[in-house]
Symmetry: D2
């Protein structure tokens, strides 16, 4: 099975990059499944129904989220009725709307897609390591292929998740730092691993936010309004995977990174 995964889509430039390049990537890679992280699509903070639709229309099959899931109030209106929209599964079970994983039929194969969030330097939520065990106990019986978007800050927690689930997941793909890492590999037991898929949005800013504002905040510690710009050059980051549907093991993981310095090659 061929899969494309696209990292955190950030604001209007992220939307443009996604709608422009996802079709081209689909022509190039012919993925049977496309997963896009949408936690920053609404001006950097959360998602709206219209923008969720936009991601699907651009070609995504599943939309994952992260620590910005609930930034836009509007999500409470549609998260429960959209099976293709998942948020970190380790938010408190009793009080969190939406779902943390979903399944999708790709030809004859049932694919599970899971979203989890790390805790180091991030929110105090449930244990993602215990949670993945619980979810896998449910999913392994019905899914041949299982993907995880692990939204986390530190390299240690992400690598720990990768090695902990090696052989049990088809891929562990990190998001949240907005910078793509160069450590894509297939772990010994067959799990494709990437610490961070990177971000889809402005190319000349800081994590997709106006760089002057971020620099000012670091230098002055004064309140500065973070804003995601609406024009300027963009980038798209993610990865391409090939997974053996029989074993659920990854056969290939390849970085995708489209920037003004690295245009998409056919």
């Amino acid at each position: 099975m061929r899969v494309i995964f696209i990292g955190d889509v950030m604001g209007e430039i992220g939307q443009q990059m996604l709608t422009t390049y996802l079709p081209k990537l689909k022509s190039k890679y012919r993925p049977q499944l496309t997963v896009v992280n949408g936690e920053n699509i609404a001006r950097g903070k959360g998602i709206t129904r219209a923008l969720y639709k936009l991601i699907l229309q651009a070609g995504a099959d599943v939309v994952t989220m992260g620590n910005h899931t609930f930034d836009k109030d509007e999500i409470f209106d549609f998260i429960d009725s959209e099976p293709k929209l998942i948020r970190p599964a380790n938010y408190p079970a009793k009080t969190t709307p939406g779902r943390g994983f979903t399944t999708i039929k790709v030809n004859q194969t049932t694919v599970g897609v899971i979203n989890l969030q790390g805790r180091v330097f991030l929110d105090n939520i449930d244990d993602p390591f215990a949670k993945i065990d619980t979810i896998l106990a449910e999913l392994q019986a019905k899914c041949q292929v299982i993907l995880l978007d692990f939204h986390a800050e530190t390299t240690s927690e992400k690598l720990a998740m990768g090695w902990y689930t090696d052989g049990r997941l088809s891929a562990v793909l990190g998001t949240h730092t907005h910078v793509q890492t160069n450590d894509a590999r297939i772990l010994p037991e067959g799990t494709a691993y990437l610490t961070d898929a990177g971000m889809t949005g402005p190319y000349n800013e800081i994590l997709g936010m106006r760089r002057d504002r971020v620099i000012e905040r670091f230098r002055t510690n004064l309140p500065t309004r973070f804003e995601t710009p609406t024009s300027g050059p963009g980038q798209l980051n993610g990865c391409y995977l090939e997974i053996d549907e029989q074993t659920g093991h990854a056969k290939q993981i390849k970085l995708i990174s489209i920037t003004p310095d690295r245009p998409l090659m056919d």
Copy 2:
């Protein structure tokens, strides 16, 4: 000017990778300057005099450090007398032994090498943004080429440093997360930038520490002894730079990543 930079050398496997591959990289790239981050060379924690010598003998011209600088007491005996060994310049000025930057003559060119440490999710030390201004006020008059090893946790602080110094430094090369990022580029005003150079050490562990221990810590929150293994496959990560000695601007930045999955090509 051709430069090689090697990220955090971790324990015994890191030493082996460095002594094995740095000579080969030198044959391949013929660098005129080689900088190596040595903060983890002594079993993951600090540096000893013998290991400092080992890095120089392996071919380094300057050794940079980070938050582990003072983990081994022994460093207090030699840091003040070794001009090629630098530690983060923004440690408290009055009480910190050693120096935060150094200059080195490469043919006719005086090169400045600076080490700074970020503060987000790291130690409470002096402001790296204010400090770089102070250091540059001193170095810019005498150096044509100036490199910075910015040892920091978050992508935002590193990107902010890169954009803040764009055109004033030849290169801003991040370290500390132990995972190489795939965002090497030359910023508009001529500064080569890389969020993290990655780590030089074990390939099948977590940040260079035994992965079973790290996973156990995440799962149990019990004390577990972190240890860097002494055998097993290794990796070496860093980058190659070409800098215009006239302008001090970077002409090229290229990732170096040698792993069992990505052997060194001639």
Copy 3:
């Protein structure tokens, strides 16, 4: 029911203060139940079997712990066989030895004593708010009086726990900051509340650690060995409670603080 609670006993001076003053406090207050936090009794880090015994012999009925529970390896040998020793109940259920709450018979009354740990600026463990609900579902049927030692860093998390459990617990007594707070009160539904009971140990040091070392660490950011002194003036901090055994509601909460400046009055 009369209860004495003593905050974190710290090292040798803490031991001396406890063995000297707990008997005097018992004469003065005639408590039917005495609970002591012992997480720092072994030179500031954890507990040994001998020191656990020492706390019991000094007059404690139950010993609570905190983030230092497992600092001394020795505890793994006896924590499972000592029903009067409890550690934070919200450590991971499957992998943590020992128990997070206990019950004790005081005349005709069954008292529950619970230990929980906060997460803000502390370890990433299970949700203490969800956990207290689970524990209370079990304990409320059999206990008339239930006490909680909530070991946490921030005032917000502790106050939130107090108000969240108001009327369901007899007392929420904070520990961990090592400084007694002056906010003892009975909340509207009957729960006695104190943000922090304070520490039992050295009077002229910082949290019980040698003050010169702590100051040096703040000023230099260099490694300094934290040590708890073995001689010098001491303090003992805690509180006295009166609880209605019929309703489980608190009738009184009074600070106990014995220092050289505030000697114990009869």
Copy 4:
């Protein structure tokens, strides 16, 4: 010299408590100097010109701030022209409006009042320990009495500041945690010390914010709007000091805490 210090005034209830009780406290204690922390007076976040005036009219001579100093944009309009308004002195020197300390004439005595902010679990600003040395080098020549409002999160950083400046400051009074501590004392060299003066605002909420919202945030990790209530019972917290104008040493420090459970006694 008799001094009253009042901790963080929080929102409308804080304003009412201050205007109601500060006059009564002045009658009772006849202070020659009154200092009030105003960082939360504007609905919990910052200060306006009108509310700054209100604090002065209520009887304050100097207003100190903290991490919320710049929450209300309006402060940029008046902070530079108000010598009695001080913000943490260790904000970046070049970019921060306002001043970090001030002097005031009390009869024949020149009193210095300093505001500093801690760094542990708070903003990355300049070193407060280095900064206090710099400020004291300037103030000690002209002031007989010097007070510090140290706005910090942890007990360790506050205690370290107290012991570090013992004998050099007349008083180190902590703020920020909004809970008064019970450790007021005079350190051996003459500095009055209190880890936290506590908060002036709502009595039945969490740090002055609506308790239902804070509890919901802890339990759900969902966005909840923190709000400071406008009605309900209030509390006022602070301390009373007596300082020897000849030596600058403290002679007395006494807690002030007015709550529905602890009404003001004449």
